[in-house]
Amino acid sequence: MIIAVASGKGGTGKTTVAVNLALSISNVQLLDCDVEEPNAHLLLNPKINRKEPVYIPVPTVNEKLCNYCGKCSEFCEYNAIFVGSNKILIFPELCHSCGGCALICPKKAISEKQHKIGTLNFGSAGNLELIYGKLEVGEPLAVPVIKAVKKQIKNDKNVILDSPPGTSCPVIETVKGSDYCILVTEPTPFGLHDLKITVEVLEDINIPFGVIVNRAGIGDRKVYDFCKEKEIPVLLEIPYERVIAELYSQGVPFSLKIPEWKEKFKMLIETVKEYAGK
């Protein structure tokens, strides 16, 4: 079973939920797909067992064969190639690795080389398996790194995906193929606004979902009204409590210190299984 933890708004508590959930169930694999700023490891202090680079193919030009005809540059939808009168420039950070330039080159001067854009980190914290991707600084393409993280999914495990915030490509890449998506929000106008956008996305890609309200007690009731109106289950409320915030500030997942929360997360998994039809 694959459960994605996502949110429209950033900072609502995705990682908090994903980590506490992962700590409350057995046979679990936690994949941090927020490769731009992974942080699940900060709460888990895992032992990193190994690292693996993530590459994408980018073009390289044999200038002995190139006659500077410019067809590659004309073809490139992302403007990653500049052809001067006797010089060719490649901008790997703009390349989307389609391979079209190599195909279109009449002189067969273009081949592909591997360009490192990120790193996979394989770690463990007790029985919990944690894998997180990290995008290199200055590299704009998060999706290939997320794909590499998701390749590590083991089908016999309870897989929890910690998604990046928002509703853009990295989020879609993370949640697609999940059996269920937990949307973490906060009961504020900002939380509601971004929740609505995310709900639209999930309805579109047809993944069942429910909501966790974090920092319950602040803001207003509009998130609840919205969920009621749309018949979205509110799976859990995490109250706005000092003790939870204090543990968080110390980098301690609160279910480790407050046993009743471990039970609540266990029950949450059962509820999710039912909704996901698993």
């Binding site: 410019g70 540059s73 403007n79 990653a80 500049f82 001067g84 010089k87 901008f91 704009p140 928002g166």
Partner: protein, 136 residues
């Protein structure tokens, strides 16, 4: 000599546009005769790499000098590779800056004048790509 000026309109009296890659028009001016050709910038709405695409266009048009406001790092590299002289910080109308250039009042730049960014509408701030979703 053929000079390219970035402009917000399609005539010699149009104001110089400070952005290079995303200017609305390139005005190619013959410095001897002041004859000109206005070319709409197809890269203006490019998802990314507008500066590179724009550099490709003006190189193909045979310009030897570019007069504009600012040039980013990718465009700068491309323009240098194309052997185009780069003048930044220009303001006024296209006609005025070409005249200034002819009088030797404009200086070439040896480095990019603005930082890199990716796509439209946002600077290189943390989280901007989350606010402005792809595809780029």
């Amino acid at each position: 000599m053929r000079i390219c000026v970035t402009a917000s309109g399609n005539s010699l009296d149009a104001p110089v546009e400070p952005r290079f890659g995303r200017c609305p028009y390139f005005i190619f001016v013959d410095s001897e005769t002041m004859a000109f050709e206005a070319v709409p910038n197809m890269a203006m709405n490019a998802m990314g790499g507008a500066g590179i695409q724009a550099a490709q266009l003006i190189a193909s048009k045979g310009a030897k000098v570019l007069i504009t406001g600012n040039v980013g790092p990718n465009a700068f590299q491309a323009l240098v590779a194309a052997g185009i002289r780069i003048i930044t910080g220009a303001y006024g109308t296209v006609r005025e800056v070409v005249e200034k250039f002819k009088r030797g009042e404009l200086r070439e730049t040896g480095s990019p004048t603005v930082g890199g960014h990716y796509g439209r509408g946002a600077g290189m701030g943390r989280g901007w790509r989350r606010r402005y979703p792809p595809p780029y």
